[in-house]
């Protein structure tokens, strides 16, 4: 079955009308993950854009067609650990235990519980939609924010120009936890993403599966909504967001034969407007080094 057929046939588990921004990558990722995982799923969605967009419900109604809980910003993997172990204890291992969490809840304050759940190889699929910041609250920087980015807590000032640090590259860190499955994905590469969600769900029956997905954010990044997929695609093509996966056979990299430059990627994106030549070069070097490392690991 082609991924288009999968998506065409699968029921949408998310409310048709949710308050995610026009062109939101997170909404696309959430709908896609739940279309693949289906009705027999329990999901944890910590505070962040998706939870803020109403999918954990309002008043007495639900924003999804499946059971959902909004864990704390920093305990999604721990909460789902208890849930997952209870479902296994009850012999209902057919139920998918899934998290869809932003980068703040994943790479920052949620990292401790995430790392511990991964180390224990708890049975769940943890999907991080990485839009590089706290977008739900007006784009404050996170540890996955790209160097130089203009955010509300790393403004472009007369003395300091945007974020001063390179991003934390979480997916590789997660892959070193001895987990069942780890992959990066992008909504621009939908066939690849759907396949990885399927693999991740299968792996989650045996242990921890982690999926780190690039989540284009027109609002926070300041570009036109229709460019969302284009931005995600360029991030992949310039090796800022390489696509790879780790399974029992090791690391596998989607090689980019002719990468575009970081300079091409950042063009037209508002949060990068202020970047200096040096900053662009610095991001380029980080991307090249990361890609080279992944290539070696995938050999």
């Amino acid at each position: 079955m082609s991924y288009i057929d999968v998506l065409r046939e699968a029921e949408d588990m998310v409310t048709p009308g949710m308050s995610a921004c026009q062109g939101c990558g997170g909404e696309l990722i959430l709908r896609t993950v739940l279309q693949v995982s289906g009705k027999n799923t329990i999901i944890g969605i910590p505070p962040g854009c998706m939870a803020g967009a109403g999918v954990v419900g309002w008043n007495y109604s639900n924003g999804l067609k499946i059971p959902v809980h909004i864990p704390l910003l920093d305990n999604t993997a721990s909460f789902l650990t208890g849930l997952s172990q209870m479902y296994e204890r009850k012999g209902r291992t057919d139920v998918n235990i899934v998290a869809v969490a932003g980068d703040g809840a994943t790479a920052d304050c949620g990292f401790q519980s995430l790392s511990a759940a991964a180390e224990r190889n708890e049975k769940m699929l943890y999907v991080c939609y990485d839009n590089e910041g706290y977008m739900n609250t007006g784009y404050q920087r996170s540890s996955t924010t790209t160097l130089g980015s203009k955010t509300s807590t790393t403004p472009v000032g007369s003395v300091i120009n945007g974020k001063q640090q390179q991003q934390k590259y979480l997916p590789l860190i997660m892959s070193m936890h001895g987990i069942e499955y780890c992959a990066t994905g992008s909504p621009s590469n939908m066939a690849d993403l759907v396949a990885k969600i399927q693999k991740g769900l299968a792996a989650s029956k045996h242990g921890f599966a982690y999926l780190h997905v690039f989540s284009p954010c027109p609002t926070g990044w300041a570009y036109k909504p229709e460019k969302a997929i284009e931005v995600a695609r360029k991030a992949v093509q310039c090796n800022v967001f390489p696509l790879w996966e780790m399974d029992h056979d090791g690391y596998h990299l989607n090689e980019i034969k002719k990468p575009i430059t970081v300079a091409e990627f950042v063009k037209g994106i508002g949060k990068f407007k202020n970047l200096t030549e040096e900053q662009i070069e610095s991001i380029q070097q980080a991307a090249d080094a990361r890609y080279a490392l992944l290539k070696k690991m995938a050999q």
Binding site: G63, H69, R89
Partner: protein, 392 residues
């Protein structure tokens, strides 16, 4: 009935928790609680206990993992102390406001700073507005019995609240004494398997657990929570009776009284100082002082009516806190006891006593000095200076 064993307070908590057949246990070691989780780990690893044991990386996760397991329909157990409780504060508060029933042992400990690992009840007092039921134990036997009763109370349909079973760090957690440990079949008879359905996540009955909720609805949830606390006061008494009828041990419910009937002066104690207090009452009576004791067994819900009734016709009282209320220059339970007694200043001579902080001893002599002080001021209603049990 039961079997006589010799246990520390922590091992008593572990044995009792195991008898309640928890589906899942998650706890992180911290002084002076560590041996609770060590003991349970030993039971699970030796096949004596069929529970999922999750070796978490922090108390925050301990509380979160058990929260997830309750959302999966399970009965759970955890234990902590002081800084660990502070770290788990975020999921801790959520536990009660989601109305998730469970039991957590708390080996009470002083909060830093100054740096300390020793006894004190400041940790429990810090979280008393977190919506949990709080009970304090005085003996290892009581730890066992209250953990078992705790599940019964927590899972009561009128209550549905988490229960903290508190006992003094070291003075109880590391105290070794004989305990009558109920048999498994006896506990099974008293405590049926957990059956909660108000909060269980299940694809067969999909709902949003904890949707975004606006203020007007929030008020309803909070009122319902307070109503449940109020209802718990009755259920505590009923469960105490039911437990006593089966096991032969009655504790008196939310408070217990010792020689208060004809007393002029009353000391109010919390937790592990109570036994010493009873000895002090006996010694004071030998001196001709009509002394009595009220043991505050539950601090949440606060048994205000029971205290008021117990204090009827008395002349003076002092509340001994192993913690402080920053801002009142007294102990916190003194403030609450006083609040429970209408016109306290007109009716009673009273003062707050603070002692036993950071592992300092609360001795017989200290409590005796309080009783003598009460006896001196008993005819002069009103608040007296706070007494500090200084140790030089």
């Amino acid at each position: 009935m039961g079997k006589k064993v010799v246990l520390t307070g922590n091992y008593s908590a572990s044995e009792a928790a195991a008898l309640c057949r928890p589906d899942l246990i998650a706890a992180y070691p911290i002084t002076p609680q560590s041996s609770v989780v060590e003991y349970l780990a030993g039971m699970v690893h030796n096949g004596k206990l069929d529970s999922n044991l999750v070796q978490v990386e922090s108390e925050h996760s301990a509380c979160s993992v058990v929260q997830g397991a309750i959302a999966g329909g399970g009965r759970v157990f955890t234990a902590t102390s002081a800084q660990g409780l502070a770290l788990m504060f975020e999921p801790y508060t959520r536990m009660s406001t989601l109305r998730f029933p469970m039991v957590m042992a708390l080996a009470t400990r002083e909060m830093t700073s100054p740096e300390t690992v020793w006894s004190g009840q400041q940790d429990a007092m810090c979280v008393r507005e977190s919506g949990w039921i709080q009970c304090f134990c005085d003996s290892n036997q009581e730890i066992v019995d209250m953990i078992i009763q705790g599940y019964k109370l927590a899972e009561n349909k009128k209550v549905l609240l988490p229960v903290n079973v508190c006992y003094d760090g070291f003075y109880s957690s590391h105290l070794t004494e004989g305990v009558d440990l109920p048999l498994q079949e006896e506990v099974d008879q008293f405590l049926p398997p957990v059956h909660i359905n108000h909060c269980v996540l299940d694809p067969e009955n999909p709902f949003a657990l904890d949707p975004l909720t606006p203020g007007p609805l929030m008020l309803k949830y909070r009122k319902s929570h307070l109503d449940a606390m109020e209802a718990a006061l009755d259920e505590i008494e009923k469960i105490d009776k039911e437990f006593g009828d089966q096991f032969g041990r009655y504790y008196g419910g939310a408070i217990s009284e010792y020689k208060t009937e004809d007393a002029d002066v009353v000391i109010v104690t919390i937790g592990g100082m109570t036994g010493t207090g009873m000895d002090a009452v006996d010694l004071a009576r030998e001196e001709g002082i009509k002394a009595g004791l009220i043991k505050l067994r539950f601090t949440r819900p606060f048994p205000a009516k029971r205290i008021a009734k117990a204090m009827e016709g008395k002349k003076a009282f002092a509340v001994i806190d192993r913690s402080v209320s920053f801002g009142w220059s007294t102990g916190p339970m003194y403030m609450e006891t006083r609040a429970a007694l209408v016109d306290a200043d007109e009716k009673f001579a009273h003062f707050s006593v603070i002692g036993g902080l950071g592992g300092a001893d609360i001795s017989l002599d200290m409590i005796l000095s309080t009783i003598r002080k009460l006896n001196v001021v008993k005819e002069e209603p009103g608040q007296k200076d706070t007494q500090w049990y200084m140790v030089d």
